[in-house]
């Protein structure tokens, strides 16, 4: 079932629309068919009285149907076969000879008239001839198609169109009703937790020890076997109903054209409509299965999946009221940040963008919206840093990207915290924190929603699944999210502050460069040592290197940055982090570290 259908209940707009369209088509085609009938009769197609009297005709037909006739016919078919064959052949030859000779008919008439000897006889003969001619004319009228008038043809075309449409919609509607029925059968009235709690409190207030169980809102009778056959019955019913307009049309035109041919065309339409209905049904089924699989297996975290997940998560973060505890494997950097490339102070530009409404899907704007306490845990393996000097270019890129993402997130967290503090009266607000810890499970817990991501080898193979997706019971959800949250919190509890990690990494990089403690911090050199160069050179998701900056905001355009700009942006992330941390300061460093002059030794203030 589609998610939208789930939320809308079993009766959807689509169902109502299907029924309305069907009824409209049914009425329209019946109306057209009747009009055609009327038109046909009005235009004096010499219909004999009672010719279109359906019931009489049906009666006659039924009367003529008898076992005797069938038996006779069968006898003829089997026994008189050779004789009949001869007669037919002779008759055919006779006719052929008559048709091949144009004078034959005249001669035949002459021979007939020659048999009449007297005037009285000739008067008689005239009458007979007139009779014969009348009979002939009638036969000719009967056997030849009348001249088609344009309005008549148009009308017929309209009727046929309406009827074929009707048939298609018959099958579409049966499918839709089938799905609606299955939704209805599966539909559960969700437990009204507020009322349940009220009842429980009431029970406790009454001194009653019994736990009040919620009323069972699962209508079991909907699962009865009887409903299994309803879709088929519906199909037949609608099919029969849809027969009425074509029947009317067939009766009206039976003398104009062979109705059997029309019926054959109708059968073709029927088959096509049935197939079409079946196809849409299959499509529906496929979507169902995909959704079902998705709820079981989860979203694959390739580029699209990541986007989808990020949107979903940011939506949840924004609306979270209690806590967000998450294990982060890959720190996202908003594309809005890379688009700030042109600005003199990219961080200010980013903050301004997030403040206005058109960039509502950035991390900063999400965190500004949220009321929850946010705690992230990230695993940054020490072995990667230790082996960085020996690592391949790809590994160095990965390492730097992880560090950059972490530092970027720390700056955004600090900005969001400042915003949060500014909004409170007493200047008291929960900080956003990131901890470094070995977190083997990859989970996001947002209030009572739990996401579990599963790593499968390289990136792009990982999947994410919402564990609480199918848990309707509030207590169960709470228990699961509580467990998951404790888990993540334990990792956080054991870990160290992310700022400390970033500073320690910078100092570690300075070792190999033999930087002096008293010299000004050469941030770019340190970052290059940590793999910034490799990050810029290797292909990456965040932006593309180009000869010039192109940060246009057209749809689906990747950001193009020149090498210098990209380098400046990366450095700006770290320098902003340093600036913010050193300004907050530790009581020892206040005197010696100023933003304009940061020395390598000042990094110790964070580490000591």
């Amino acid at each position: 079932m589609h998610d939208s259908d789930h939320k809308a209940g079993f009766w959807t707009i689509k169902t109502s629309r299907g029924i309305v369209v069907y009824l409209a088509l049914w009425l329209a085609s019946l109306w057209l068919a009747l009009n055609y009938y009327d038109y046909y009769v009005d235009n004096g197609h010499s219909a004999k009285p009672g010719e279109h009297y359906v019931w009489g005709a049906a009666d006659t037909m039924v009367e003529k149907l008898s076992l005797d006739h069938a038996g006779k016919a069968l006898g003829k078919l089997l026994r008189d076969a050779p004789a009949a064959h001869d007669t037919v052949r002779a008759h055919a030859a006779d006719q052929a000879s008559r048709e091949s000779d144009p004078c034959a008919f005249a001669r035949y008439v002459a021979s007939q008239t020659a048999l009449l000897p007297s005037p009285s006889q000739s008067e008689n003969a005239n009458r007979v001839v007139e009779c014969e001619i009348g009979a002939l004319r009638e036969t000719i009228d009967d056997r030849t198609h009348p001249r088609q008038s344009l309005p008549g043809s148009l009308l017929k075309v309209l009727v046929v169109m309406a009827i074929s449409w009707l048939w298609f919609h018959t099958f579409l509607l049966t499918n839709e009703l089938k799905h609606a029925l299955s939704r209805w059968r599966r539909h559960r009235v969700p437990l009204d937790t507020a009322r349940f709690r009220e009842a429980q409190q009431q029970a406790q207030a009454d001194g009653c020890l019994r736990v009040v169980l919620p009323a069972i809102k699962t209508p079991r009778w909907r699962e009865h076997r009887f409903f299994d056959h309803v879709p088929l019955a519906l199909k037949w019913l609608l099919g029969l109903l849809s027969m009425v307009p074509p029947m009317v049309f067939a009766i009206a035109m039976h003398s104009v054209y062979e109705p059997a041919v029309f019926v054959m065309a109708l059968v073709a339409i029927f088959v096509a409509a049935e197939h079409y209905g079946g196809l849409t049904d299959t499509e529906h089924e496929l979507k169902d299965r995909t959704d079902e699989l998705k709820s079981k297996v989860g979203t694959v975290l390739d580029a699209d999946g990541l986007n989808e997940w990020r949107t979903e998560l940011y939506g949840l973060y924004g609306n979270a009221t209690d806590r967000v505890d998450a294990v982060i494997r890959y720190f996202d950097i908003d594309s809005a940040w890379w688009r700030c490339a042109g600005a003199a102070d990219p961080w200010q530009e980013y903050q301004e963008r997030c403040g206005c409404s058109n960039d509502a899907d950035t991390l900063l704007s999400t965190l500004i919206r949220t009321a929850a306490t946010v705690r992230f845990v990230s695993d940054q393996p020490l072995a990667l840093l230790e082996g960085l000097a020996r690592a391949s270019s790809e590994e160095r890129k990965e390492f730097f990207r992880a560090l950059l993402g972490l530092a970027w997130n720390l700056v955004v967290f600090d900005m969001a915290y400042e915003d949060r503090v500014a909004k409170t009266f007493d200047g008291k607000a929960a900080r956003f924190r990131i901890k470094i810890s070995r977190a083997p499970c990859w989970m996001h817990v947002v209030d009572e929603t739990v996401f579990q991501a599963i790593e499968r080898g390289k990136e792009g193979n990982a999947t994410v699944r919402q564990l609480t997706h199918d848990i309707a019971n509030v207590d169960d959800r709470r228990a699961l999210s509580g467990w998951a949250r404790n888990n993540v919190q334990d990792f956080a509890q054991h870990g160290g502050r992310a700022e400390e990690y970033v500073f320690a990494v910078l100092r570690y990089a300075a070792l190999d460069l033999h930087c002096q403690e008293e010299e000004d911090l050469a941030l770019k050199r340190l970052l290059n040592q940590l793999g910034m160069k490799n990050y810029l050179d290797e292909p990456k998701q965040d932006f593309l290197l180009a000869a010039f900056d192109d940060v246009d905001e057209r749809m689906n355009r990747s950001v193009l940055l020149s090498r210098d700009t990209a380098e400046n942006l990366c450095t700006a992330v770290f320098s902003e982090l340093l600036k913010r941390r050193l300004a907050k300061g530790n009581c020892f460093v206040e005197a010696c570290a100023t933003p304009s002059c940061t020395k390598l030794k000042h990094l110790l203030s964070e580490l000591i």
Binding site: I436, R438, Q493, G496, R497, Y501, A504, L604, I608
Partner: protein
């Protein structure tokens, strides 16, 4: 004979030598008069030749340690990783033999494998910290193992945790969730006490310099890690005190008496008569308290800081000694010469809250001057320079 040693043994032995060197440098630098405490790592580096290579060695060894598996429940880890663990345990024993001429033996080192791993990891963290590149990873693994084991090993690990309590409290004040106000009135003092670090100690480092070098023969790893851990705790304590953040040390007088006995080497056994040398040593230790407290630790005294010698006994139910911050704390169990292998664990949440309530109660009680005039005050503030000698006369 070094060609007979396996590479991993050489690595371990180098590592422990490095820790020893760092410990010696730190010992000199931390208590240097007028030392700038926040750049201790730079001073330590000055004292160590080739610190750059040393950091590389310690990092490499740390990576090895981080990859070691815990011993499985049966006591035998299988396969290659099991072999690595066995080699590690053997190396621990060999290093202990080289440095302290002691031996654990196969059974004990297997039983204490977690302890050995935790102490090695702690040593790695401390080594990196004092060289100015602290990475949380080894300590994070120690904390994970402590959860499995239900506590931290005595000595270095517990001392490191105590240091962390001060460090965390200091960082919290530096980056508060709410702006910190200096106390100006009584009610504000209560608020400050709510965030103060509370210490109940029997062998307080704040008074006894010799507590830093206290040695216990039951330690499974070389003494340098235990000393280094205590020096880390000392450094953090001093940093915290010098930043002027609130802290209260509560020291029961009877416990201090025993601590002096213990440090002087006087046996627990009440029947044994202490030798003259032991008694002399005891007096020497006691006489050092004043200068240590006033000239090394408390160079200045801020509001909300106190060191109290409690003359009244804590109630009979007893309470383990502990160091309590506002977010985290640790209790420790001090024992006789036999020692406990896992003598402390972290305190969190409501347990921490109940410990803090208890100590705040004791703190309030120690402020009350008894009505009866013949009884002395319930507690003596050792931060009063004039009263120290008099107060310590009885202990």
């Amino acid at each position: 004979m070094s060609f007979l040693r396996s590479p991993s043994h050489i690595q371990a032995s180098n590592f422990w030598n490095d820790i020893k060197l760092i410990n010696e440098a730190v010992a000199r630098r931390v208590i240097e008069p007028g030392a700038q405490l926040w750049n201790i790592p730079l001073k330590v580096r000055e004292d160590i030749e080739g610190y750059h290579a040393m950091i590389g060695r310690i990092m490499a060894f740390t990576i090895e340690l981080l990859e070691l598996p815990r011993m499985s429940g049966s006591g035998k880890a299988e396969g290659m990783r099991g072999a690595a663990l066995q080699q590690f345990l053997l190396n621990c024993d060999l290093v202990l033999g080289e440095l302290e001429h002691r031996k654990l033996g196969e059974k004990e080192r297997r039983n204490r494998s977690d302890e050995l791993l935790m102490e090695n990891l702690t040593a790695a963290w401390l080594g990196l910290y004092f060289l100015g590149v602290p990475f949380v990873h080894p300590w994070e693994k120690v904390r994970r193992l402590a959860v499995y084991r239900g506590g931290f090993p005595s000595g270095g690990c517990i001392a490191k945790y105590i240091g962390d309590v001060y460090r965390l409290a200091r960082h919290r004040v530096a980056l508060p969730d709410l702006p910190v106000a200096r106390p100006s009135s009584c009610s504000q003092l209560d608020d400050i006490n709510a965030s103060a670090v509370l210490v109940l100690s029997h062998t307080p480092m704040v008074l006894l310099e010799d507590a830093l070098t206290y040695r216990n023969d039951t330690y499974a790893t070389p003494l340098s890690v235990h000393e280094l851990g205590r020096r880390y705790a000392l450094l953090q304590m001093m940093l915290y005190i010098r930043c002027g953040h609130p802290v209260h040390f509560l020291i029961p007088a009877t416990a201090l008496k025993q601590a002096l006995h213990k440090l002087a080497g006087i046996p627990d056994d009440p029947g044994a008569i202490p030798t003259e040398a032991m008694l002399r040593r005891r007096v020497a230790i006691r006489s050092k308290i004043r200068t240590w407290l006033h000239e090394t630790i408390f160079t200045s005294i801020a509001a909300g800081q106190s060191v109290r010698l409690l003359k009244f006994p804590l109630d009979a139910s007893g309470m383990p000694t502990c160091v309590l911050g506002s977010k985290t704390g640790i209790y420790t169990l001090e024992s006789g010469s036999e020692g406990l292998h896992f003598a402390g664990n972290e305190l969190r949440d409501s347990l921490l809250g109940s410990y803090r309530d208890k100590l705040l109660g004791v703190l309030k009680l120690s402020n009350v001057v008894p009505a009866a005039s013949q009884a002395g005050p319930r507690a003596v503030s050792l931060l009063d320079a004039g009263k120290v000698d008099e107060a310590l006369k009885d202990v």
